[in-house]
């Protein structure tokens, strides 16, 4: 019994020659995550088709209305239809998350590549990144939004700002290890210019880890957006975001728990879909890590 329990390092290393196309169907996480996101994306893009009304419509006569045919999930303290709000919240959350992921990936890649290629800039950039990373993320976002004012645009800028340093560090470390590889040394010896090496050797090399990192930023950004709105440091209170719905329902949640749980569960499902996608992508694109979180 004791002997069987010894974890033997897996000898079955996946053959490197297996094409991406063959490995893809083997990772259900990517497909499950993508499918959930696709449905949420459709709901967010066309909430009207799913029976959502006007998220700004205040039906003062029907405040805190119970579940009914007209209001499938009831209404909030201002008489807004909770079902409508929840669907429109998906729009806000997905847009903020996606925008932050794309912006942080591009900016982070740029900073990381500059840091890895321009030797004299490297220590300066790294120290600044250290400084930004030393500030707890949500605290920094609060500071940025408090200064710049609460709007969705500023939330996106703030989250992008705090997510750039980890991306830049990742990209830099990948690029630095690429620099030592023989095929890059060969290119240098053959007289390739620095921009050429960055574009044709570094950029393709960082794509896979960058993509994985971007999905995790997407998930983190949605959580931070909800947190900022919840504490009143996000989009203006009238914006139908999940954080704002919860913030408005905070004082009444014991009377009507759905005011909290509907947006919270929506956020949970969305974040989990993105995390599944990211987890799956990581296992798919990086076979070395497979044994760690198989």
């Amino acid at each position: 019994m004791k002997m069987q329990a010894i974890p033997v390092p897996s000898k079955a290393k996946p053959a490197k020659a297996i094409s991406l196309r063959r490995r893809m169907p083997g990772n259900p996480k990517v497909w499950v995550g993508a499918a959930i996101l696709f449905c949420l994306g459709l709901a967010a893009a066309f909430p009207g088709l799913l029976g959502a009304g006007d998220p700004y419509l205040l039906d003062v006569e029907n405040r805190l209305a119970p579940v009914s045919a007209a209001h499938p999930l009831g209404t909030d303290s201002l008489g807004r239809d909770l079902y409508t709000l929840a669907l429109h919240g998906a729009r806000v959350s997905l847009v903020v998350g996606f925008a932050c992921a794309v912006l942080a990936a591009i900016l982070g890649a740029f900073v990381g590549l500059v840091s890895a290629s321009v030797r004299w800039l490297d220590p300066i950039i790294m120290r600044i990144l250290d400084g930004i990373l030393a500030i707890p993320a949500i605290m920094f976002a609060i500071l940025l939004v408090a200064v710049a004012g609460g709007s969705l645009q500023n939330v996106i800028i703030a989250v992008t700002f705090i997510e750039v340093p980890p991306v830049a560090r990742l990209v830099r470390s990948v690029a630095l290890s690429l620099r030592e590889r023989p095929f890059v040394e060969a290119a240098v010896a053959a007289g390739s210019s620095l921009p050429r090496i960055v574009v044709f050797y570094f950029v393709p090399g960082i794509m896979a880890p960058l993509l994985v990192q971007a999905t995790f930023i997407w998930a983190a950004a949605m959580m931070i957006e909800a947190a900022l709105s919840f504490i009143g440091a996000g989009a203006p209170p009238s914006t139908p975001s999940w954080g704002n719905i919860m913030s408005a329902g905070r004082s009444l949640w014991q009377i009507k728990p759905m005011l909290i749980f509907v947006p919270a569960v929506m956020l949970f499902v969305t974040v989990m879909a993105v995390n599944l996608l990211g987890d799956g992508l990581r296992q798919w694109l990086d076979p070395r890590r497979k044994r760690q979180r198989a």
Binding site: K2, A5, A134, I138, I142, F230, I231, P257
Partner: protein
């Protein structure tokens, strides 16, 4: 050893200086007059003038930066625009609940996360491990709103076992202290504990595959001793690192959790400061929490030497 401690401690000074510069410089990303923005739309000229003077906006930036740094080094973070009290005083008053919350959360997370990770690694591929891996993707995605309100709904509203909210200092009795703090601490720990458990598992997997573990098992060392003494001690460094780094997530989480559970701590202070656009308070909280975070990671780095005597710098 002492030389290493001093050198490592000196390394934190530039980081703290950069943090201070960033926190200070933030004020200049404001479009337009910072005093106007902070005062809000309904401010009277007198209020705006008071903010301008409180923030020393009537002086050039470099003068202000060095004045601000000089004051900070003397323990002065300025005066709240809203209450008129010194920021350091306001923060000190709110320190206890937040500190209690964070310490309890760390204890819970390490107490659950490390053993869970060790057992999952020991039985890699077994039932516990499979459940563990599936659950970790799941619990990574749980927003603090679900864990917090979910716990409150079950244990306070429905079962009535625990008070819904509030804080009771430890000197007023341990029972009240724990019963009010246990739900917020568990709620805030979800993602942090998952992080610790995952790192423990993967670090243990690396160590368990090594020859000396097999030797220990074949010579008949009891299983628990192999796991928790031979293996865990060598797998400890990544775990300690994530315990330190993850504190940042906890500090951020306190802002939300203190709002949900009405705990009068630093997080609640921050939220109130946002509402009143009390910029000196926000600045002070961000700066001090960053410094606490940096110092904590300094301590974490220093403990490496305890767990791995080979570490010498």
């Amino acid at each position: 050893m002492l030389g290493y401690v001093i050198r490592r401690a000196l390394l934190t000074i530039p980081v703290v200086a950069i943090v201070a510069a960033i926190v200070f410089a933030m004020l200049y990303f404001t479009p337009g007059d910072p005093a106007l923005v902070i005062a809000g739309d309904q401010a009277t000229p007198a209020q705006i003038e008071r903010i301008r003077v409180a923030l020393h906006l009537d002086q050039p930036p470099y003068v202000r930066f060095f004045a601000w740094i000089g004051q900070f080094l003397q323990g002065d973070l300025g005066v709240s625009v809203f209450t008129g009290q010194p920021v350091t005083y306001m923060i000190a008053q709110r320190l206890e609940p937040t500190l209690s919350l964070v310490v309890l959360a760390v204890l819970i997370s390490v107490g659950v996360g490390v053993p869970a990770g060790v057992i999952a690694a020991w039985r890699q591929g077994g039932t516990f491990d499979k459940v563990f891996v599936a659950a970790s993707t799941f619990s990574f995605s749980v927003p603090v709103f679900i864990s917090a309100y979910g716990l409150a709904y079950i244990f306070a509203t429905t079962l009535g076992w625990l008070p819904v909210q509030g804080f009771s200092p430890i000197q007023d009795g341990l029972g009240d202290f724990v019963s009010r703090l246990i739900m917020p601490a568990i709620a805030i720990s979800m993602i942090y504990a998952t992080l610790i458990a995952n790192v423990t598992r993967s670090s243990m997997l690396d160590v368990l595959g090594q020859d000396y573990i097999r030797t220990a098992i074949t010579k008949g060392v009891p299983r628990s001793q192999v796991l928790f003494r031979h293996a865990l001690k060598n797998a400890a460094i990544p775990v300690i690192t994530v315990v330190g780094n993850g504190i940042g997530v906890l500090i951020g989480g306190t802002v939300i959790i203190e709002t949900i559970f009405a705990i009068p701590g630093i997080g609640r202070l921050t939220v109130d400061a946002i509402m009143h656009r009390d910029y000196p308070v926000i600045q002070g909280v961000v700066l001090l929490s960053s410094i606490a975070y940096v110092l904590l990671n300094l301590i974490v780095d220093l403990t490496y030497v305890v767990f791995d005597p080979r570490v010498r710098y």
